[in-house]
Structure formats: structure tokens, C-alpha cells
């Protein structure tokens, strides 16, 4: 609806969050140091008791020197980061593998959007189809479909689908449900007056779809894309773990998990977190670009 109240002033700009955010970051940093010592000292004490030579004498001093710390010390983080990030495009480096996983996820999201649009159109067009399938689509949201990912990965492998594609397919399959439901909701969102208006113009069904329903559904598409992106990322990483993969964050996680290299796991976690944030930010940016007509939040 567009019944905007008379000439609303632009929303007043809120004070910047930067300072409080920096403050919280600082507090977290200050907490990190004692937390790290406390988390690692137990293991350090055990190592010392078993007579290992760590080049230090007290548990507290050794807490920053463990080979596989629970929480890495700053120095360990630094070396871990450099060894996993330089050179950035080597097949063993985290940035490269994050790119691979990100690519799989984006491809999956694109596939899921196309499929989602088709399904949403069917749902909106036919009531019988809606009644037959919508309950299951909704139920699928509450079901751990990602649990199917390992199996799907194996199955796709059996049928010779390999490399980049199976992960993208699995990402698509996980992203598909929220997108379809969001799009169906969006295609239905025009208000009755807008539909009546199109009718007074004798608009064809295709025109109603293209000029009214699709534009109206865009905000819904992006909302569901953001939800779907994180889920799809989980899907592609799980798929990487479950298949014989040669690249991707999932492969790195699996390898380092096996090797118990905790510093590497921490570094990969940070890359994975960043990848999730970047993907959602990308979609948010695309959303702002596509839906410029909306009032600023």
C-alpha cells in the first residue's frame, strides 16, 4: 500500500554505531586474553605433567605455546593466518578455497531462484497445486533437509555429476524451498485494488504478471534470498565434506579436523564467517540496487 502519511520528514539520522561497536570490540579483545590463558592452561598443565618439553616452565607461560591450543594466542593466529592466506590464490590457501565455496553457493542460489520462481508461479496460478504441495513445502522448512546433503552428494557422484556442480546443486536444493515460498508470497502481495486497476486496463495475464506481480515480489525474493544464502552455504560446505573434494572450505575443514590443527580450524572459521557475511552483504547490495524505489530503512 502506498497511502503514505502526508509529507513525512526523512527519518532522522541515528547517531553512528561505530563508537559503541569499537568499544564492544575492545572489550571482547580484553576478555580474549584471560579467556585464552584459562582455556589453554589446563591442557598445558597436562602436557607439562606428562614431561613434554614445551620450552616453558609454568602452565600459564605455556598456554601461549601449545601446538594445538583450544584458543590460539595472538602470535599463533598471526602465523596461522599468513601460512593459510599467502599466496592468496594457491590451491591450499583459505582465500582461494573460500572463493570456490562462495562460487558454488552463488551458482546454487541462482539455480534456486530460477526454480523458485517457476514453482512460485505454479503455486500462485493453480489452487489444486498449491493445496497439494504447499503444506509439504512449508514442512520442509522445519525438516533438516541439509541432512540429505551427504547422501545427495554420494548419489550425484554415483551418476557421474562431479566437481563444482554437485555442490551447487545441493546448495540450490537447500535454498530452493525458502525462495519458492517467499516468491509465492510476493506474487500474491499486490493489493486487490492494484489487481482491479490492471483489470480496468484490460491487461493480459502476462502483463499482470510482469508489470505487477513480479515487481511486487522482489522485496520478498531478497528477504528469502538472505535467509537462503546462509543455509545454502552450509549445504555446499557439508557437500564438500561428504564428497571427494579437491577444493573449498569444506575440504579444508575436513583435512584440518583430521589433522587436529586447531589454529587452522580457527582461521578457516573466520574465513567461513566472513564468507557468510560477504554473501549476505552481496545480496543486500544487489537488493538496494534493484529496489531503489524503496524508502531508506
Amino acid at each position: 500500500m502506498t497511502a503514505a502519511p502526508a509529507n513525512l520528514p526523512r527519518p532522522a539520522r541515528r547517531p553512528s554505531n561505530l563508537l559503541p561497536m569499537l568499544g564492544v570490540a575492545l572489550a571482547a579483545l580484553l576478555l580474549y586474553w584471560p579467556l585464552m590463558l584459562w582455556a589453554n592452561s589446563g591442557q598445558a598443565a597436562r602436557s607439562l605433567a606428562s614431561g613434554a618439553d614445551l620450552g616453558c616452565t609454568t602452565a600459564l607461560a605455556c598456554a601461549t605455546q601449545l601446538r594445538n591450543p583450544v584458543i590460539p594466542a595472538p602470535g599463533q593466529f598471526a602465523t596461522g593466518f599468513t601460512s593459510l592466506s599467502v599466496p592468496p590464490l594457491a590451491p591450499t590457501s583459505a582465500p582461494y578455497n573460500a572463493l570456490v565455496t562462495g562460487g558454488e553457493t552463488l551458482l546454487g542460489l541462482a539455480l534456486a531462484s530460477v526454480l523458485g520462481l517457476v514453482l512460485a508461479t505454479l503455486l500462485v496460478r493453480s489452487r489444486s497445486f498449491e493445496r497439494a504441495t504447499l503444506p509439504w513445502l512449508v514442512a520442509s522448512q522445519t525438516v533438516p533437509i541439509v541432512a540429505l546433503a551427504p547422501m545427495l552428494a554420494v548419489l550425484l557422484g554415483q551418476y557421474g555429476v562431479q566437481g563444482f556442480l554437485p555442490k551447487a546443486i545441493i546448495a540450490a536444493y537447500i535454498a530452493f524451498f525458502p525462495i519458492a515460498i517467499g516468491m509465492a508470497q510476493g506474487l500474491r502481495s499486490p493489493d486487490p485494488l492494484q489487481l482491479d486497476l490492471m483489470r480496468t486496463y484490460r491487461a493480459s495475464p502476462a502483463q499482470v504478471f510482469g508489470l505487477l506481480q513480479v515487481p511486487a515480489s522482489l522485496p520478498y525474493l531478497f528477504t528469502s534470498l538472505k535467509v537462503a544464502a546462509t543455509a545454502a552455504l552450509v549445504g555446499s560446505i557439508v557437500a564438500e565434506i561428504s564428497t571427494i573434494s579437491f577444493s573449498g572450505l569444506g575440504k579444508m575443514l575436513a583435512e584440518n579436523s583430521r589433522a587436529s590443527d586447531t589454529v587452522a580450524l580457527w582461521v578457516i572459521m573466520i574465513y567461513g564467517a566472513a564468507l557468510g557475511i560477504v554473501l549476505v552483504a552481496l545480496i543486500g547490495g544487489l537488493e538496494r540496487l534493484v529496489t531503489r524505489w524503496r524508502p531508506p530503512a
Binding site: R127, M151, Q158
Partner: protein
């Protein structure tokens, strides 16, 4: 939308045919499966496939006709029929092509395995749902509500913490899981922690939004009564926050189980539905995998429905 449904409604068919057609289709599919059970693998698979497709078409017409009108049956029957026909058709096709259980298990095989492995699966479900998902859900919700109250009370905290919460809610839990499991051990508590963390963010974000959603006019009204802060909270802020909080809880209820299962992929002490799925995929025990997924789905849907019912109950009372 109206166009499509109007055309269908205008078809000169009587909806009374719906149920007989559905029964015919289901019986036919069942019959095919029974016929196929007698032989090892049919020499020619495609005639069977043709039969299945024909029966499915009959079923589709039946579904379409039973979906007419606004009666209770017209709302429920199509969905139920879709599931039943899909399962029956899968059974017949998998048998006709003699697909090995290690690749795609037939629904009947899954049902058998579900029954045979029920003790193990129930125990797995206990670990995954009760100890990990449910406990993590409760802990995460309580922590989230506490954090939200602090954030609303101290504006500076809201501005400092909330942006991080929004940012961190888009972090995939698979990135988090290995580290937490390394730190907290392979036992179930590490998964509980992971679930709690993933529940925390949506609850904080929505609870803060909800606590601030109180209408200024209502707040002014309370001020005009010289109400105490506690009264204002109880009468205005909390009731207006509840719908937001329940939205977060509904979302989290599904996230909790899903994330517990995924977290288990990264290490357990040999319990849990996620563990079961992973280990059985490795040895091509896909019937057990499907059985575990069926169990997880039933639990997931039930938990979601429970939270939704709770929401309706609480919101009606308020």
C-alpha cells in the same frame, strides 16, 4: 492467481470424482509394487514406468478435483494424497528398475529399517533433540532474552552489540562447529553450545526490536498515570515484544534441530542422528539414513507445531 483458480472452478467436472480417482490411483500403484515384489527384476522396466506415470496422471486429476471448494477435505486431502501417491510411485519405480538399496532405498525398505533400528534411532533422537537441540534452544533463548533486556536498558550496549548480532547471524554454523567441538570436546555439550549460539542471535535481534516496538502513545499514556518502570515494562513493553520474540522462537525451533544435526557431522562420541546419517552414508546404509531423516523430520515438525501452538496460546492470553 484469481485467473487460474477461476478457470479451474469453471471446469464442468464434479468434485465427487476426486476420491474414487485417488483410490484408484493408489490401489493401482500398490498393485504394481505387489506384482513387482514377485519377481527379481523385470526384463523390461519401461512398461512398468509407463503404468506408474499413467496412474500418477489419474491421481493428479483426482487431486485436482478433490481440491475444489472450501471444505475441510478440500484443504487436507490433496496434500495427504500427494504424499501417499509420491511414496507409492517411488516404491514401484525403484522396484521396476531394481535400484539397489545402497543407492536409493525403496520406501518399504526404509520403513522396515526404521522399525528394525528403532531403539538405536530413538536413542540418537534423544541425544540430538533433547540434549542438544532442546537444551541449546532453551539456553540460547534465555541468554538472548537477557542480552536483549540489557541492550534495551543500556542504549550504548544496543548500538554496540546489535550490529554484531546482525552480522554474526549470517555466519554458517559449519564454520563454527569444528572449533567449538575441539574446544568443548566430542560429547553432546559441544553441540548444545553450538545450538545455543545459533539460537541466540535471532532471539536477541527480534527481542530488542520487539521491546522497542511499544507504541509511543501507549508509553505516554502510562507516563500520564505515573506508572513505575516495572509497570510500564509489564503492561506495555513486554506484551508488545511477545509477538516478535515468538517469531524468533519459531525460526529458531527449526534451526535448533537442523544445526544440532549438522554440528554432529563434525564429531561426536558415537551418538545422534547426525552421526548416524554420516556414518551410514559412508557405508551405503541409505535405508538407515532415510529412516533417521524421517525421525528427524517428525521431531522437527512436531517441535515447530508445538512452538506455534504455544505462541497462539500465549498471545491469546495477552
Amino acid at each position: 492467481m484469481t485467473q487460474g483458480s477461476m478457470q479451474i472452478a469453471a471446469l464442468p467436472v464434479r468434485s465427487g470424482f476426486g476420491l474414487p480417482l485417488l483410490l484408484l490411483s493408489a490401489a493401482g500403484l500398490l498393485g504394481l509394487s505387489v506384482l513387482l515384489a514377485g519377481q527379481a527384476a523385470p526384463a523390461l522396466a519401461w512398461p512398468w514406468l509407463l503404468g506408474v506415470v499413467a496412474l500418477l496422471l489419474v491421481g493428479a486429476v483426482g487431486i485436482r478435483q478433490s481440491a475444489q471448494g472450501e471444505s475441510r477435505t478440500a484443504r487436507i486431502l490433496p496434500a495427504a494424497a500427494t504424499l501417499i501417491l509420491a511414496v507409492l510411485a517411488a516404491e514401484a519405480i525403484l522396484r521396476a528398475y531394481a535400484v539397489p538399496t545402497g543407492l536409493i532405498p525403496a520406501p518399504s525398505k526404509v520403513a522396515q529399517s526404521l522399525w528394525a533400528a528403532r531403539t538405536v534411532l530413538l536413542q540418537d533422537a534423544y541425544y540430538t533433540f533433547v540434549l542438544e537441540a532442546l537444551l541449546g534452544f532453551v539456553v540460547g533463548t534465555l541468554a538472548g532474552l537477557g542480552l536483549a533486556l540489557l541492550a534495551v536498558r543500556f542504549r550504548i550496549l544496543e548500538r554496540g552489540v546489535l550490529p554484531y548480532a546482525a552480522l554474526l547471524s549470517s555466519v554458517p554454523i559449519v564454520a563454527l562447529a569444528p572449533v567449538v567441538i575441539k574446544a568443548a570436546g566430542l560429547g553432546w555439550p559441544s553441540k548444545t553450545i553450538i545450538v545455543a549460539i545459533t539460537v541466540l542471535f535471532p532471539v536477541v535481534i527480534n527481542a530488542v526490536r520487539g521491546l522497542q516496538s511499544a507504541q509511543p502513545m501507549h508509553l505516554d499514556l502510562m507516563h500520564s498515570y505515573a506508572a513505575s518502570p516495572a509497570q510500564i515494562f509489564r503492561e506495555v513493553r513486554w506484551p508488545s515484544a511477545l509477538p516478535f520474540i515468538f517469531t524468533a522462537l519459531r525460526v529458531s525451533s527449526t534451526l535448533a534441530l537442523i544445526n544440532a544435526i549438522v554440528a554432529e557431522f563434525f564429531g561426536t562420541e558415537g551418538h545422534g542422528l547426525g552421526f548416524r546419517i554420516q556414518i551410514e552414508v559412508g557405508r551405503f546404509g541409505l535405508d538407515i539414513v532415510w529412516a533417521a531423516i524421517v525421525v528427524a523430520s517428525v521431531i522437527g515438525i512436531s517441535f515447530y507445531l508445538f512452538i506455534s501452538a504455544l505462541e497462539r496460546f500465549v498471545l491469546r492470553r495477552n
